[in-house]
Symmetry: C2
Subunit: 339 residues, 2 copies
């Protein structure tokens, strides 16, 4: 399947991930096997809990970025598989800790692990997976990869703490919001792409900066779309996956824009409802109404598109092949979710 | 100060740590500086919370083990200081998470960090320090050190989850208790000593196994003494630092021995009170009475002495100098706390 016979911009977005899964079939199979094998422990709770959240699916977006980045820079190898597994373990560890911190009851459409095994097991199994991620990375034999991922891991925690400290600050500046999501989300996308590139071998170092820029901007686009979807994107269907950020009082981009563009009355509304103790049942519907009527939903999605375009532009120095096209398609896919 | 002029077995135990602090003055100063410098973050909560728990003191036992192990194997260097800091960061991260998991209100004689900044900040700052530990280790330039500490970190988490799963099992076999404390406590002592030895340079690899065995047995002795002290050691003074394990329903060695040696009535007592919901105010005093009257306190301390002796025996292949003597003294110090 080449770019010529199946130009990505004509492919339905839903097919993009499926096509990549087929391009990466062997690599993903190796990674999936490691995701199970490296969570094995004589303490049963660990593989049980880890298997529960890992097998709940998720799109494996971050390991896919690692694998495609490696292919775009010369090819994936067993070290790349170890790295892709490490990236997913780090992501899983942050999900486990996030669910405790946010007190979320659902994750990937299932009960959150903490609602099955308790907060304590979620905290400790998160720690376990985080540690195992580093053991896996040691197997890549690259101190540079370890430096990139350990730095990203501390930046992620910084972003999470920053978000915690900024909670219910309705006057959060856009720049501070961007700095939070760059840390809590984009840092891992960036590290996944950069380290993936480096895992391809010594020749690939010249592409590492481009892949890092790609990953960072893709991560920003991804999180901004996620934050738009939490208010129904531009279609505003209130479903079970809508309103989590609202109920947690998180100030995200749609809110920042809607509040800035709103009347004094609207601003008072936002100032009240982002204090979670002052929310009432009907407030979410009104919040979604304001986000749509002020054009904040559209503006948020446009912002995501801008970062997706930056991600794609960062790829221009890479060889023009199916892997570069796949990375570009992935950027389209990430923003397509919002429509 | 040499072993000849001041034989350790004549030195008062309280002086041992002070003497080591003076032998390691420069190394500890470098480590203390890194403990502050590497917790710096633009997100204020992180250095605030980290500084709170790090500056609360603690004996810096684990970094001291790393530093002395390096000296015993050829000398400490900047990589050793980075490693010693990493070891203390990992320890601090586990303390922060433990306090959330155990819902402990006091740590190092102060309010637990979670009681000042909340559970969420404690979880996330723990994650941050853990990540920073790995960044520090990358600076040692040794994949072997990263392998040892990442493996130890996953083993620690395994031990914590195992302990959680074994909670209120009053019939916990001694071997399973030992396996839990070997994982949750001794693994970091072992890694601190082994990695410290390796940090001294290529010549030192021949001593790594001896230092690993030293660290593991020292860690076992240390935790067993800790568990004895939680019931007042052999002196049974009920103070504010006594009874934490009891109130959390942890089955530790003094309890295992006291229950095994007790009457049917005593066993029924233990089976009731280790279920924390069935404890009453006077139960701790009776528990301490049983642990003393059955000789379980003495037997527990004897077990700790046995491991301390194994730790000291593991040092026999090292050069006979003040550093080997210091490691040996440290083993004496760890068990001396029980008297």
């Amino acid at each position: 399947m080449t770019a010529q016979t199946n130009p990505s911009h004509e492919a339905p977005f839903a097919d993009i991930v499926e096509r990549m899964q087929s391009m990466l079939a062997d690599d993903l199979a190796a990674t999936e096997a490691l995701l199970v094998e490296r969570a094995i422990s004589p303490v049963d709770v660990i593989p049980d809990l880890s298997g529960y959240i890992v097998s709940a699916g998720g799109k494996r977006l971050r390991p896919m970025i690692t694998l495609i980045a490696a292919h775009a820079c010369g090819g994936a190898n067993p070290g790349t598989h170890a790295l892709a597994t490490a990236v997913e373990f780090i992501h899983t560890a942050t999900l486990l800790h996030d669910d405790v911190v946010d007190d979320s009851d659902l994750r990937r459409g299932k009960k959150a692990a903490k609602n099955v095994w308790g907060n304590n097991a979620s905290i400790l199994v998160g720690d376990f997976l985080f540690a195992r991620a580093f053991t896996l990375m040691v197997e890549t034999g690259s101190l540079e990869i370890l430096r990139i991922l350990s730095t990203a891991s501390s930046v992620i925690a910084e972003g999470e703490v920053h978000q915690l400290a900024a909670a219910s600050r309705t006057d959060l500046p856009t720049e501070e919001y961007l700095s939070i999501i760059e840390a809590k989300t984009a840092a891992l996308f960036e590290a996944a792409a950069e380290a993936g590139a480096l895992s391809a071998g010594p020749e690939s170092a010249k592409h590492a900066d481009a892949l890092a820029a790609y990953g960072k901007n893709l991560g920003l686009a991804f999180q901004i779309v996620d934050d738009a979807l939490d208010y129904g994107g531009t279609t505003a269907v209130i479903g079970k996956s809508v309103g989590d950020d609202f109920r947690e009082g998180k100030t995200t981009l749609p809110v920042i824009i809607a509040r800035r563009r709103g009347s004094a009355e609207d601003q008072a509304f936002w100032d009240r409802v982002l204090n979670v103790e002052q929310q009432s049942e009907s407030d979410l519907a009104h919040a979604i109404h304001l986000i749509r009527s002020t054009g904040a939903a559209e503006a948020t999605i446009r912002e995501a598109h801008a970062y997706a375009n930056l991600a794609k532009a960062a790829l221009r120095t890479l060889p023009d092949d199916e892997w570069r096209r796949a990375l570009s398609d992935l950027a389209d896919f990430c923003v397509s979710r919002a429509h």
